[in-house]
Amino acid sequence: MKHKRSLLALPYVGWMALFVVAPIVMVVVYAFTTAGFEPTASNFTGMGTYVSIFARSFQLALIATVICLLIGYPISYVMAKEGPGFQRVATVLIMLPMWVNFLLRTYSWMAILENNGLLNQLFDAIGLFDLINGLFGTDLTYFRMIRTQGAVVLGMVYNYLPFMILPIYSVILKLDRSLLEAAQDLGANSAYVFRRVIFPLSLPGVLSGVTMVFVPSVSTFAISRLLGGGTHMMLGDLIEQQFLGGAYNPHLGSAIALVMMLIVIVCMWVMNRFGQGEEQAVVL
């Protein structure tokens, strides 16, 4: 009977073969062929010209991930200490912005960061520019914020912060209280308990949060287009151009996508190994 029930998964297995596995096979095939479908490795060997784009993407995504972690971890920790009613409201408040499409929210940031945008108006109103100009003899009338790499990082942090908070929060929430009490009974102060018990046990949440922020950040193209003004090309922009943009070459695009995928998989694998090691150390 149990076998009969497992047949229920059959349609989905077929669906996965068609729409998950086959598309990835297509990417691999395209990556290793020319426009005439002759086998080649030139898509990869010619990638050296894009090293700076790879470097920039990974650098910006890494910065965004670290900032998300620095904001997200304390928030999750503090939230997990609150009462259940507060927690429910806070969780909803964190998820709520996701129901407004992320491009809408990013678009709103454009208006805030413009040279004559709201943030510069605010700085002007509180006399920040006068102060700086008086101190340094400059004649600033605005900070250039939009169309910079900083704006792109801000966009990433803003959009993906909930993906860092929610997994960490849910892991901390499920921590076994008796472990903490045991540590305290054995004379550990609260900093020590955090360092040796809470933080190691929350690592699975941190790892999944890091993945969920890093992967979309490194591959974004909409955020860099809207907030970076298209001046700081990222991997996502590069891939998008090969498929729908002017530089139409899906074979090169597939190769870049494949390399990006592999780098991300390797990063995640290394991190997971590292994380599991930590976890085991705690159990031992």
Binding site: Y12, F19, V20, L96, N101, L118, I239, L244
Partner: protein, 293 residues
């Protein structure tokens, strides 16, 4: 000391929420702006709402977004629930292998999922269209001659829907799976012993047991669909566009403040639904509490 720390942590949280909500608040405020700036307030007006309702392309894209999200959520929830039940009655090794494949769309970057599906659709449609252009036949039925041709296919709503279903199902399985694991397997056996058919056991025993997982799976699926831009962008072709694609297209020229108005409306709808849900839930909880005490 403790109280101080509590105030500090509350303040920190308030700042983060300010960061999360400032852009949304600004959109709401400037949707009522009389001028067309997003930074200078020129008085109250409803002109952007008026313009919005007459703007066919934006309203059409909102309709497309909602339709594709609802349909994809519906299909993914049903298919994902059945698939999860199937997967969790398999042997562990086979299940884990299939779950690993199931995880691919979730761990892959959106752009990789979008691009790979785009390649598949374009290739398959390329073959099909060649076939359709070369093969046509006539059918003589009771003296009337029907000329049968195969339609030419291209990227559009259908392909976008397939893509959405594909990236939604894993989330449903992920949230139904744990409920299935928690479920007492003997329940199904008991139902069967008492004469239930296995479909009956599915609907009367398994389904009520995993219902919370199904609901939260559907909710996540819908959220992902509404929030998606990248995968739609690569699989929708040029004939249809979602709201996000519409904005992305506008960003090259100038984004109309009508976008503020539609965002505000969508946000208000979400808030209302949420409030409704919360009120109902707390009522149900209170009722349950009354029953137990």
């Amino acid at each position: 000391m403790k109280k101080q720390r509590r105030v500090g942590s509350r303040l920190f949280m308030a700042l983060v929420f300010l960061f999360l909500y400032a852009p949304i608040l600004l959109m709401v405020v400037f949707s009522f702006n009389a001028g067309n700036s997003n930074a200078v307030w020129q008085g109250f007006s409803l002109r952007w709402y008026e313009a919005l309702f007459q703007d066919r392309s934006i309203m059409g894209s909102v309709y497309t977004t909602l339709l594709v999200s609802l349909l994809a959520t519906l299909v993914a929830t049903v298919a994902g629930t059945f698939a999860a039940v199937g997967l969790y009655s398999m042997r562990r090794r086979r299940r884990n292998a299939l779950l690993a494949v199931n995880n691919i769309p979730m761990t892959n970057a959106d752009i990789v999922t979008g691009v790979s599906l785009c390649l598949l659709f374009v290739a398959v449609f390329g073959f099909w269209n060649q076939f359709a252009a070369n093969y046509r036949f006539t059918l003589n039925l009771f003296g009337t001659v029907y000329r049968i041709t195969f339609p030419q296919l291209s990227l559009g709503f259908g392909t976008m829907l397939i893509a959405h279903i594909t990236f939604n199902i894993p989330y449903v399985i992920l949230s139904v799976g744990p409920k299935l694991r928690q479920m007492d397997g003997n329940l199904v056996d008991a139902a069967r012993d008492l004469g239930c058919t296995w479909m009956g056991a599915f609907f009367k025993v398994i389904l009520p047991e995993i219902k919370p997982g199904i609901i939260s799976g559907a909710l996540i699926a819908f959220t992902m669909s509404v929030d998606d831009f990248v995968i739609s962008y690569f699989t929708a072709g040029t004939s249809v566009s979602t709201l996000a694609m519409e904005i992305y297209g506008m960003a090259r020229r100038r984004i109309s403040p009508e976008i503020n108005a539609i965002s505000t409306l969508l946000f208000v709808v979400v808030l209302a639904l949420l409030a409704f849900h919360n009120i109902r839930e707390s009522r149900a909880q209170r009722a349950a509490a009354r029953r137990t005490y």
